[in-house]
């Protein structure tokens, strides 16, 4: 089609294998399923690209010319659309926290794994004398614990992955999430109704047991995925993370088959979860300590949420984050700190004292031992209840309003003198 697209031999091989000499026909569509798999072993379907045929024929169309050109156009559209779906951004950021996998299969399209409210984009259709080819993509919208954007939009984010021992009608978006019915859940269940805000929903995320057997429903005939951290390390072949059955193996790829942007996936880190991605904290907790202190979890997760807006996007923010350096200058705190502070104090005010903590094996979100000099967990414990900023507290006998107003003219005069400096500074910002 006169488009220079780099072929990935492995993908070509897989596609040919799946095709097994046949072409898509009515009821037999070619589907490429893109899913995400974390280093913990959890996986989630992100997109399904379908090439379907239907019986509407266009007998008069000229194959060698019109159909060919339209197929070229379809291919270009496919390229354009692949960059536009939410999964693309995730695939660009994959690394050792999660990887993107693909699977090619023929047959009926199975859209169950995409969660509710998935959207469909029609890439295009081409009529041919033997039928109409149509290419579409159904993609998941409910990337609740995946996308930072979702954190802003849906307050009860954790509700999506809320554990099942709570009587709440939260739909489980991902069928791959394990059902864990543990006795510890009773305590958690008891405390739930008392705290009716979005934060308390988060408590269930710190469930007791790690995800054990994950069943991928339907597609692979019930072949269970075991969390294969040890397997990762053992894999000599860089390209293939897991192959369970010969015919339906899942292989690693960055983007759908026709993309030329390939990223070889490196083996994910085995052993302890590297909590760079905030999703780790959400559903892959192995700590049992928090079960007894659900209120503590509230504050912890309340901190997670504002961080989550920034952390996966730009982890450098942690280094420059004023929270890491205790706040000295109230006037220059970033909005991040402001929100953290308020969330932290609101969480604290709900009756929690950090003295009651009994922390065992605390793995806080995005704690990077190698970058931050201080372990984030330690830091958090120390600054759980920071003192009120003197400028924010009203009851400390600070300057009265009148005194403030009096000093204003002097301050204004000083600022006016420095106007040129400020202007130059503003110029540099633009």
């Amino acid at each position: 089609f006169n488009l220079a697209i780099k072929d990935i031999p492995e993908v070509t091989h897989e596609a040919k294998k799946a095709l097994s000499g046949q072409l898509p026909a009515v009821g037999r569509s070619m589907c490429v399923e893109i899913s995400l798999k974390t280093s913990e072993g959890d996986s989630m379907e992100l997109e399904i690209w379908c090439l379907e045929m239907n019986e509407r024929c266009d007998k008069e169309i000229k194959v060698s010319y019109t159909v060919y050109n339209r197929l070229s156009l379809l291919l270009k559209s496919l390229l354009a659309i692949t960059r536009v779906t939410p999964a693309y951004r995730l695939s660009r950021k994959q690394g050792h926290e999660y990887v993107i996998l693909y699977r090619i299969y023929f047959g009926e399209v199975q859209l169950n794994g995409l969660g509710e409210g998935f959207q469909t984009v029609r890439v295009g259709t081409v009529g041919t004398p033997v039928g109409t080819i149509s290419l579409s993509c159904a993609y998941r919208i409910n990337l609740a614990f995946m996308s930072t954007r979702q954190f802003e939009r849906t307050p009860p984010i954790m509700g999506i992955i809320i554990d099942h021992f709570v009587d709440r009608p939260y739909p489980s978006s991902s069928p791959m999430h394990p059902c864990n019915y543990r006795t510890a859940g009773e305590e958690v269940g008891v405390t739930y109704p008392s705290v009716e805000d979005s934060q308390e929903v988060c408590t269930t995320s710190f469930s007791t047991s790690p995800p054990s057997q994950l069943m991928v429903p339907g597609k692979e005939g019930g072949v269970p995925f075991t969390p294969n951290q040890p397997a990762h390390g053992a894999q000599a072949d860089q390209e293939r993370l897991m192959t369970h059955t010969p015919s339906d193996g899942i292989h690693c790829a960055a983007t759908p088959t026709s993309s030329e942007d390939t990223e070889t996936v490196s083996n994910s880190s085995e052993g302890r979860a590297s909590p760079h991605d905030v999703l780790e904290t959400v559903f892959a907790r192995k700590v049992g300590a928090f079960v007894n202190k659900p209120m503590n979890q509230v504050t912890l997760t309340s901190l997670d949420i504002p961080f989550a807006m920034f952390a996966p996007k730009n982890l450098e923010l942690e280094d420059t984050d004023p929270m890491v350096n205790p706040p000295e200058s109230p006037g220059t705190t970033s909005p991040l700190h402001g929100s953290l502070h308020s969330d932290g104090s609101s969480g604290a005010s709900s009756g929690n004292n950090h003295d009651d903590f009994v922390m065992i094996d605390f793995k806080p979100a995005f704690s990077k031992d190698d970058i931050l000099p201080m372990d984030l967990g330690t830091f958090y414990r120390e600054f759980q209840n920071p003192p009120q900023l003197s400028s924010l507290s009203i009851d400390i006998g600070a300057q009265s309003m009148a005194e403030d107003l009096d000093s204003l003219p002097e301050k204004l005069a000083v600022h006016e003198k420095n106007v040129r400096e400020f202007d130059a500074f503003v110029e540099t910002l633009q």
Partner: protein
């Protein structure tokens, strides 16, 4: 034939104007370009290959695909740069629009010059907003990224309606349909123009420039 017209609207911050426009224009041109035609003796032709590449935006959380043609990219960047400067210099509320028009040339007899008959026009209306805080800018990055995703989907939908396209020309006619001036890609003949509107909505500025790719001018 009727010229079909598509209008897209974007609201962006000042520094996102260029990237947003380039994303749209490049996506449209990706669909409206082919490889260079190489005509053979028997009246048949072969089509060269077109490369593609991803472009990550610096000021928007967005990536788009464009043809790998540096000249085409330069031409678009130049046009967008002029639009951006005009927008900035106009004062006003930062409202403007840029049009990408695909046309066919129809040879007329002397003394009349050739006619340019448009068959598709893409108009992008740009509204520039000014943001105060870094947080707003961050949110704007994401929002504009999402909006552009929608625009790309819209463009693809229109493209795949398979409406009128000029017929593939013979060798002698190829310059009437395609822009053969580029070394590595052959888009349909196109021109880019823009307008800056002031608050009243009327076209004020005299800097409506026509970036004409073929050698013909009135």
């Amino acid at each position: 034939m009727n010229c079909r017209s598509e209008v897209l609207e974007v609201s962006v911050e000042g520094r996102q104007v260029e990237e947003a426009l380039l994303a749209v224009l490049h996506t449209v041109l990706l669909h409206r370009s082919t490889g260079k035609f190489h005509y053979k003796k028997e009246g048949t032709y072969s089509i060269g290959t077109v490369g593609i590449q991803d472009v990550d935006c610096d000021f928007i959380d967005f990536t788009y695909v464009r043809v790998s043609s540096e000249e085409l990219d330069r031409a678009l960047r130049k046009a967008v740069g002029e639009f951006k400067d005009a927008l900035r210099n106009s004062g006003g509320d930062g409202l403007g629009q840029m049009s990408l028009e695909f046309y066919q040339k129809k040879k007329s007899r002397w003394p009349f010059s050739d006619e340019c008959i448009p068959w598709e026009v893409w108009t992008v209306k740009v509204h520039v907003v000014a943001l105060a805080t870094e947080q707003e800018r961050q949110i704007c990055r994401e929002k504009v990224g999402e909006k552009l995703c929608e625009k790309i989907i819209n463009i693809v939908e229109v493209m795949n309606r398979h409406e009128y396209l000029p017929k593939m020309p013979t060798q002698s006619e190829v310059d009437n349909v395609f822009d053969t001036g580029l070394p590595d890609v052959q888009p349909y003949l196109y021109k880019i123009s823009f307008q800056i509107t002031d608050a009243l909505g009327a076209s004020v500025t005299t800097t409506v420039r026509r970036l004409i790719k073929d050698t013909l001018a009135l």
